[in-house]
């Protein structure tokens, strides 16, 4: 009898298993994918890559604003070659796609905070794309049904950014969200809604500040945004967790291992070591190390290295430096940037007193952030070339100090173009491919190949829409 039961069981078993299988699996479902993404999984990816993309863009713009220089002569980016930045383009769009899906999913689930954070991050990425390339696919992007997306007019992108930021702020303030941000999944702010709101205002101020060459520029609107933005360094948007090394640390580590990277430009070093402005900037020793000659020397953009490249004949990002130490914070938006935006807007609206005070606060904020000794910081601020007093503050001084405080930040290229590259002793790179300063990037080869009919024809000397002519 027992034997019979066993036999019956074995006969019945496959039937049970088969029916179970057929309910759980569709033959067309990929077992290695999820069709609906976990909301917090998208949040992790979006917050992380928004920071990483600031690095990715900076790895282009830092060579254009001569923070960094290629160790090789005729570096493609250094010398304004028509370079293919398909990878950076893809990383920006990959992240914006995840953000798009985050906003979409969160909207369906009534997760207002996730919508808000998504919108604010979308604005940050969108603004970078617009500043690099001008017109870009946006309104018909991220959509599987449009495989050759049209380009959205260059001068309308900021309007979308501002709308995203405004709605992001609203979503962050809503009282009826189903979920709050999970502190462990929000890699930028650990779920602090206030920090997201302030960041939205910083980005808004940054965008409005780009319009100085346009008739629509409104200093009061910039200052209104600044009023709600960061007030202390503790507010800064920065990434502190990484998949492996902090990206600029990786550059410094590569350089130590003779895979040359993270070389400081002669223009930047000269601006900091007293050669250009007659005052030594105490931040320089916290960024790089002295050369074997005992002083600070940069590499001329386009000229490349002098010797073998491994003899400490030039300055590089140091593995002990603030921006490139192990786990170095990757800065997205800072208190110092806010103060310089405030200084410029106040200056342009004729309020020199506020402009000067913000200028001093901006230098102070960045020096404190980088870790400059208080006595050295105060000595720098008292230097007559820096502490000029509110009567003699100029736009040149504000932008010179912003250039130093925004080291490695991509927004400096926007400043440089608005300012027509008038930083003191800022020269065309050696072996420049253009006879004037570069004004935009060439569209990536992937777009030329895959979406060529929609891609506008541009030259690297064509100014982007907010950059006048």
């Amino acid at each position: 009898m027992k034997r019979l039961h066993t036999i019956l069981l074995y006969i019945a078993l496959p039937g049970i298993l088969i029916s179970a299988c057929s309910k759980s699996f569709d033959i067309n479902d990929n077992p290695n994918q999820a069709t609906t993404p976990p909301l917090n999984g998208l949040l992790v990816s979006a917050t992380y890559h928004t920071a990483i993309n600031v690095y990715q863009v900076s790895n282009i713009t830092s060579y254009l604003v001569q923070y960094l220089a290629s160790p090789n002569s005729d570096g493609a980016t250094d010398t304004y070659q028509s370079t293919d930045y398909s990878t950076t383009w893809k990383l920006l769009y990959d992240n914006m796609t995840d953000i798009h899906d985050l906003i979409d999913q969160a909207g369906k689930q009534g997760a207002a905070r996730h919508v808000g954070a998504g919108e604010i991050m979308m604005a940050i990425n969108l603004e970078m794309l617009n500043d690099l390339w001008g017109s870009i696919p946006y309104t018909s992007a991220f959509n599987a049904n449009v495989i050759q997306p049209a380009y959205t007019a260059d001068d309308s992108i900021y309007t979308y950014c501002i709308a995203l930021l405004d709605d992001g702020i609203l979503q962050m303030k809503k009282t009826d969200t189903k979920y709050e941000l999970d502190a462990a999944k929000d890699l930028l702010f650990g779920g602090r809604n206030e920090a997201w709101i302030k960041t939205a205002y910083v980005v808004k101020a940054r965008i409005l500040n780009h319009l100085t060459k346009k008739a629509t520029y409104n200093a009061a609107a910039v200052l209104a945004a600044v009023a709600n933005a960061y007030t202390t360094n503790a507010d800064d948007a920065q990434m502190l967790q990484f998949q492996s090394l902090s990206p600029w640390n990786e550059a410094a580590v590569n350089n130590i291992n003779n895979s040359l990277d993270g070389w400081l430009s002669a223009h930047f070093v000269d601006a900091m070591n007293g050669k250009t402005y007659g005052v030594f900037d105490p931040r320089l020793p916290l960024i790089t190390d002295t050369t074997k000659f005992g002083d600070y020397r940069g590499t001329v953009n386009g000229a490349g290295r002098i010797g073998s490249g491994t003899d400490q004949e030039e300055c590089y990002l140091s593995v002990n430096g603030f921006y490139s130490k192990p786990g170095a914070p990757l800065l997205i938006a800072t208190n110092a940037e806010c103060r310089f935006i405030e200084a410029e807007a106040a200056f342009r609206s004729g309020d020199k007193k506020r402009a000067y005070s913000a200028y001093i606060l901006g230098i102070t904020a960045n020096m404190d952030k980088v870790g400059v000794d208080t006595a050295k910081r105060n000595a720098y601020l008292r230097n007559p070339a820096v502490g000029v007093g509110e009567g003699t503050i100029t736009l040149d001084l504000i932008l010179k100090e912003k250039y130093a405080a925004q080291f490695l930040h991509p927004d400096t290229w926007n400043d440089a173009r608005r300012y027509d590259y008038k930083y003191k002793n800022f020269n065309l790179p050696e072996n420049a491919q253009l006879t004037t300063f570069i004004r935009r990037l060439a569209y990536p080869d992937t777009e030329k190949s895959r979406n060529g009919a929609n891609m506008p024809a541009v030259k690297l000397t064509d100014h982007v829409w907010w950059d006048g002519n």
């Binding site: 992380y48 495989i147 979406n451």
Partner: protein, 413 residues
Amino acid sequence: MSYGKLRVSWARIGKDATPYNTGSGYIPLINGPIGGSAIGWTRDDRLGDPNLKPEFTNTFETGAELRFLNDRLGVDVAWYTSKSTDLLIPLKLSNATGYEDFYTNVGSIRNKGIEVSLNGTLIKSKKFNWEMRINYSSNRNKVLSLGQGLDEVAVAEHFGYAGSTATMKYIPGYPVGAIFGTSYQRYYGSDKEDPLMIDYSKPMIIGQTGNSAGFPLINSSQKYLGNSQPKWIGSITNNFTYGPFSLSVLIDTRQGLKKYNQLANFLAAFGESAMTANRFDQVVFPGVLADGTANTQKVYLQQAKGPDGRNYGAGYYRNVYRGVTENFVEDASWIRLRNVSFTYQLPATLLSATHLISAASITLTGNNIWLHTKYTGFDPESSSFNAGSNVDAFAGFTYPATRSFLATLQVTF
């Protein structure tokens, strides 16, 4: 005539999609967790098509097989036309879609061509035989339509410096192997310039200002530069036997095709190409200025400051030459001695003494012994993409087919 056959056939063959391409989804970040714990999710790069259908090819073929003189001479002729519909292709997508490629059914293509095969026993005697086989085939294909409201789609691309990436695109009216890329700007005067086809008889436009003064200008939009599909393919096999000796010789050829030579692009970019040996010369580029008048400006091809005091920066080969895909889409026709094989059959009388071995032969074989081509890369036949794919326009950084020699001893017990 000793044998004759006429045949007509119609066939419909289906091709199935690879699995898991009917949808799209989300995957964890490939480089692992962030800060050791946070797992990020991202949209996958591959977009699938929920309405995916099998690809079908309808082929109509008619042919004849004839033999003459007691089968010593044979002819096989075939003519075919086929139409493939709903081609299964991973289309390259603008990354602005959020994807890298889209696995879907795309339009239709037509193939038509002829195949001719001749074989004959030219000499047949007691001791000496000579057999020859000649194969010839010629195929023409064309993209008929793309569907989905599309004018063109990118199928694959291969990087080139300074915007010279070469792209394989399907565009209705163009062959399946069409290669597109940047070209020299040409002066059309009052004639209309076709957006895709280049009129090579028109003169190049030479720059007048700045660093490009005196140098050819680049047209950075992508134009049609050639077809990676051969006009014809042929082979000749000869078999000679003389008593215990036999010799087989196979010669292969592919004619009338072009490929993008990425290696040449890289070599030109780094001054390693033989082409760049003239960089200490001064030249006047043949061409016209924007107003149609002849260019007379002499320029140096080298880098940095020239003898005329002008700073040439990175020099002609980096500034101009490497950025023009047209320079690297080369004639990739070839003829090769594919295989030679020589066999000696040991005499049976010798072997019978062993009472063990019933037959034995020694064969010496050589593969890829000789190649004739104008292609400047290693080997026009190798491909940067796997052999099974329809991407055959790129033979860049690949090793050439190996030349090998074998000695084989075959013993039968």
